[in-house]
Symmetry: D2
Subunit: 350 residues, 4 copies
């Protein structure tokens, strides 16, 4: 902490992920908040845009000016919509900034998959430069990554739950279903009927069942781990709560003698040394309330008594381990800090 | 409506299902509320026990006295815990009452399955007398049933969603997973940490994953429809809302050419003439908010774009179509009333 | 019920109040739904606009055409924004329709007060024709009213709580404060940051403290009852729930010997014969959950032990007794039906 | 931070305030968690009792043994029920521990007032030793206090909002009403119908209107500041959210020319140098969501346009500034740390 702090800019810092990045950067022992950038809000005071910053963070939201950012900051977090993000990232990389990008733009190894789900990629030539920022599975590559594609909430929760099973060949590669349950903040700060309080409270519904673009991202990571192609049915749901993702994953065992205890053992082995992962004991079920506000993921494993189906469950805070906290965790690995630096706070329970 | 009304007693009428039964009996054109019975609250005023009845329903909660009930009433709804219910039902049947039982005691054809999950059955000799009260699948048998085993919220939602698929052999009998999401009222009126507001709001968790006793009940009905044994993985979840069940069911198609449209067609065919069922168009997803307070079930079908997995979804109000409303629907069929009598009110949206 | 039903059109029927009007008209023994009118949604199916009507209400939303409405319907409920409502009401009145208007346009006796808070009135000449539709206080005038100005949720809850106190001169006319707490549905179906789930759940805030336009409306009614001018401080709050208004009113006793028991007695006397009002016993506190979905108002009275301040509390469902239900109640009085016809259903508790 | 950390024990550390104390002690640069004490849970692992501590805080909950505590720790936070707390505090003070007590036992200067509301005091002789732990109003006395009576959520929110007004004689001492709105966590971890999810979500109600024991505590502090006796009507309400207190206070101006701007000025003057207080600009209303998880209080002032009533509003997180955070803030002052040490984190918004 006696060394000079890393100066960080938050581009697209006026949404929910931005608010969490501000919170986490300010709480980090080795980071310094350089500026908050947001074109639509540029010129407004930070306090008026981020109510949690009122009385604490002075100054105004800045417009996106790559040269100014390069001068003020060492690293940038980019929390922009896809395509817009790729362009901003490219401009910052050209000026030598290390970038932690929270969009989907650099998450796919295969350009064709990206373009099938997101449309034309603005800077495909930079894809090869990026490292997928799921620290638990890409720790070594991240140590010298200058462009990190930080995964979002659904892929983080789903992949971490299933990784120990597919990596060890415990479950069959086909017939995997992921039933994901998300708090409303995952839909962002933009208003819509789908996130209007009166039409969201006291109700639950699936959306884009079997056709959500996080499906192929989860498949990319699981296939890589398994060494064979994995196809999943991915169905996201919107729940009447602000924060949290619970992923409940169903898979068929390769060997009928597989037990929940063996799955737990595999998870503990894979995540040994990972400060953000807690693998629960048999019989315990993860609860998103237990990780609210923290960068932790709680994993649990069960098995259907009669049919043998394996049930892998994970709970995260979508804005922390599913977004802002994960970006900080990547930065910690990249800069050689303790992986949990600034991220060790307990969840706010209840 | 000019004929003499049917007099109904509600045994165990002081919980949430009881409160809904009172509401629905009072709103029914051919029913008259005879009494509300509840041993623990006997002697208290109904108004003090059921706040929604304050200023409306006079009198006190009655103790359970089978002779008195037989004198005052023509039918009884029984909303007691299992085992206790079987004994009360038996006492009422001996006195000639028609009984709509909302416990699990008479839902299983196979005594061994019941006893494996619920313990010793107090009156196994009456099992054969009972008809399973899922009207949409047992309508004809219910017309002369004097003991109806009304199914609860999870089996109702899950079975109605999957029935068209298994009955028509559209999906494979193994590898079916049911991810069920319930509002907290499903856990009843008894207080516990698991239903304490501060530990329930803003969180979601599974419980008894793969080991919940509604699994075998769903299997019984699906196996009967399919003509072959069906095994499912059943995982219930508790959500931060009071009412509603959403069941999201995952199954593998027998034929790779199966489409969501074909599933919708099968559902519309099976539920033709069923006033409580609405099968949504392709692309629509059921929402528990859309059926809150009503006896309707909304069904939707989708298919995973890439792997082919079929996704069957259903939304109900757990206290209405999953309990009190379903009991009234059974009574309507038994007494030859219009199946939707007293149950046609729109959901209270929002 | 053997006589010909009254045909009702719902103008502005695609918002939350409209959805409740549809529900209540369909449940009313003497009403028939003629059409649902809504310019912005005209041509869409009712099912697509009102999800609770899916599978139940056929047909499309109609455009606003006064001649067509006059032909199809006997009465119109108008649930439009102010100013727009006055014009529509006027067009319907010219064609002889009886109109129950849910806007503010005809609620004020004094045009100057209206215009100070809402801007220029489009048809001031009709003000004198209207009767204020708070049945409990204007029952006799409503019996032959052809234009009823149905009050909204805040004035209904606040006025009914304070009326017994000011009418009987039990409290002083100055220094009255009304702290009103509203569910989010009171803000309507239009989306905004202020009603976005993530910024509304888990938070509470006042808005327009001391400057909300329902203040002068409450004062009009209380002053009329008191016979002297009454000024109140009115502060509305937004709460993380969909439905319900709780008004907590603070007033100073004229005579230091005033007790809560005397307030309760005054309320029971004033509301004798009012089927929608329940005055709770001393020591009980109204809860919005106890009236959710019903047309009832629960009133409670307490007194500060030490300082003598009287606390008058009332709970209603803002969309029912605070809007759609109250309009039906006015219609019942106007047409000589039982005042509670179609409105007697119990609250959906929980 | 180079000096030896202060070792802290948390007595009664297994409730919600205890969980927050654990979170804040672990995040504090100069504190070290010595032990968590809780008789009912003694012997269980901390992880099983506090789910947010799972995987982070090792070891078991300890029984209450004053000698052991005195050996392990320098200070104790006491979060026990009243009367029980007084005895534990006394035992710890006898062993030289500095104690931050979160019960009501040492908050009253006047023993008679305490005993009128709480019953017989177990150790009245220690009352004079205690300092009331509302830092903003007792900062100087706290610098050498060895027994601090940390106030709870209602008195903190209410007193801080009204203090600038009564201290400066801006409002009249009689006719003040405090309408306080609390999240359910304020009722603690013990289960009851009043905090059961299904009977709490989607509803709001007052409780103990005008007869809550926090009334006299607020009066004590306001009277001290005003120099004349102040009587308030205090009405607490339970809201469907987990955390947060919003106090809306109504008072009559002494001088009819008083404005909201003058109130804001008085608040800014009084709280200058107080790192936990943010006084909002005119027209802004505090929102509990904006301070969730933080130790900040947001204050806002408005005035009724017509009658002149002053409206003072404050928002806090009941478990932080209303309990655990305030205790840490007292400790910071007592030990000469920066007043905001360990408490500067932004709220978790949304």
């Amino acid at each position: 902490m006696t060394s000079k702090p890393i100066r960080a800019t938050i581009v697209g810092g006026t949404g929910y992920t931005g608010a969490e990045l501000v919170r986490l950067v300010l709480a980090h022992p080795s980071l310094q908040l350089a500026s908050i950038v947001g074109n639509a809000s540029a010129g407004k005071s930070v306090a008026d845009v981020l109510p949690s910053a009122r009385g604490i963070v002075p100054g105004d939201v800045q417009p996106f000016e790559p040269d100014a950012i390069a001068e003020q900051a060492d690293v940038a977090f980019c929390a922009l919509p896809h395509a817009a993000s790729a362009k901003a990232v490219s401009a910052l990389r050209q000026r030598g900034q290390k970038v932690f990008d929270l969009s989907a733009d650099f998450r796919f190894e295969d350009l064709a998959v990206y373009e099938a789900w997101y449309g034309k990629h603005p800077v495909p030539e930079r894809l090869s430069e990026a490292v997928y920022g799921l620290v638990e599975l890409h720790r070594d590559e991240l140590r010298d990554a200058d462009l990190v594609a930080v995964p979002g909430c659904y892929p983080t929760a789903s992949t971490l739950a299933l990784a120990p099973l597919v990596k060890n060949g415990l479950v069959r590669p086909e017939g995997i279903s992921v039933d994901a349950k998300s708090g409303v903040s995952g839909a962002g700060r933009g208003v819509s009927s789908a996130t209007h309080f009166s039409e969201t409270a006291e109700g639950v519904r699936a959306y884009k069942a079997g056709a959500h673009r996080h499906g192929p991202e989860i498949e990319q990571e699981l296939s890589r781990l398994a060494g064979v192609p994995i196809r999943i049915a991915f169905v996201p749901h919107l729940l009447p709560m602000t924060r949290g993702i619970l992923a409940t994953c169903y898979a068929q065992p390769v060997d009928s003698s597989l037990t929940a205890a063996r799955c737990i053992e595999a998870a503990r082995e894979l995540y040994q040394g990972s400060p953000s992962v807690v693998v629960l004991d048999e019989g315990q079920h993860p609860d998103t309330l237990w990780v609210r506000g923290s960068n932790r993921v709680h994993l649990g494993y069960a098995q259907d008594r009669r049919g043998g189906t394996v049930v892998a469950m994970s709970a995260i805070d979508n804005l922390v381990k599913g977004a802002a906290g994960q970006a900080i965790q990547c930065l910690n690995v990249r800069f050689g800090f303790d992986e949990g630096a600034g991220l060790q706070a307990l969840a706010q329970w209840p």
